[in-house]
């Protein structure tokens, strides 16, 4: 499972982003997306395209954690959203490993050009957290992750040197997010 996490300000400015892989089930925490190295912008493209759906969901669901809101089938990318009360959006894109048996290291990059084939096969493949992005266990794990990031975000926002809409550059914040990802995802 590979993850791409991004924080967007209420005015759609990207404040923070990070790509990481799963650490559960023997994962080494390195992101292996199905796109080639040269097409990593696809993650941003997919994640930002879910903003329309997020803005609709925002006014029907009053919770902060909006769960899984969008799927991009060609890349088998699932997007989960969390909204802070002050309007910042946390978006997490997750992409399950390509084939159920090939969670080992090199497969993700090797098959990177096959964008269209993955969708339905991976969804049914396994019930583990890593491979099944829509299961309740995954939703719960992501919720825990989001809550932990939210805590760090509030701490950032409370800093008198931080203005809303500023990029979050603190390496400590990045470490915290990485640690939360390692712990829950």
């Amino acid at each position: 499972m590979s993850y791409y996490f991004t924080i967007l300000s209420p005015t759609d400015t990207p404040l923070f982003n990070i790509a990481f892989g799963t650490s559960k089930g023997g994962g080494d925490g390195i992101a292996r997306f199905r796109f080639p190295e040269t097409a990593q912008y696809m993650n941003q493209f997919i994640i930002h395209s879910s903003l329309d759906i997020l803005e609709e969901a925002q006014w029907t669901n009053g919770g902060m954690y909006l769960k899984h809101i969008d799927t991009y089938p060609p890349a088998a990318a699932y997007i989960t959203a969390f909204l802070t009360p002050s309007g910042a959006r946390f978006l997490l894109l997750h992409q399950p490993p390509h084939l159920p048996s090939s969670t080992s290291t090199s497969s993700g990059l090797g098959s990177s050009s096959l964008l269209g084939t993955a969708g339905s096969t991976t969804r049914a493949s396994s019930s583990s957290i890593a491979a099944n992005p829509t299961s309740p266990q995954t939703e719960e794990a992501v919720r825990q992750f989001m809550n932990e990031v939210y805590e760090s975000y509030v701490k950032t926002a409370m800093s008198p040197f931080y203005k809303q809409g500023m990029e979050i550059k603190s390496p400590v914040f990045r470490t915290r997010v990485t640690a939360a990802g390692k712990k829950w995802l």
Partner: protein, 254 residues
Amino acid sequence: MAAPPRHATMQSISNGSTAQGTDRPQTQQTPQAQLSQQSPGLRVPSNRKTIYDRHLNRSRNAELSRASFAFLFGEMVTYAQRRVTGIQDLEKRLNEQGYPLGLRLLDLLFYRSTSTSSSALSSSSTSSSPPNRPLRIITLLHLIHGPLWRLLFNRAADALEHSVSPDTPNEYMITDNDPMVNTYISAPRDMSMLNCAAYVAGIIEGVCDGCGFETKVSAHNQPTELWPSRTVFLVRFGDPVMEREKVLERAGVK
């Protein structure tokens, strides 16, 4: 370049007994690795504790000295008063000082009510589940009237009213009989219109804006016999908010 040699010596100290000859190729690689980890330019306090190590609930029940608050607020008013053209300008500046505070308080308020079992938000139905973001005007105003006021002043506001005039359905009023910010402020006679609670109005505006409700908030003096410094905060929602409110009402969103 002073950095590489320093790292080289640190490396040799930490490695201690290893021979210098074998140590050499290692030191070529490690400075980069160390630098990328520690990220130069980041200064950490001497006790190694950053803001991320402090718990947000630690100061939850801590109280602030009223004297120091009065002093600081007095200084803020003086600061805002420099080079202003009139009372309106002064109030606008106070409002702008309060606005960022409102945005921050909103996040803090929700964080504190999610992380503790005894929820501070009256709008949430159960104490264990996290409170909902306000979607409708009434929930938002209750949030301000109750939890926000308690966070700021340790008590709820005194009244919450809707404008009775049919021309202005977008106007709401929050009343504070004795605003804490005005306790130690007496405006001169020629500035009797001034209300320094414009700062609090700015906070309210920040909270509303943060929640996605475009608002203009202003503070007005409305003294009564009993409460000479009674202040009314007039909350005026923008047209897009009122339109959305109608849509949400039809959709049955609460």
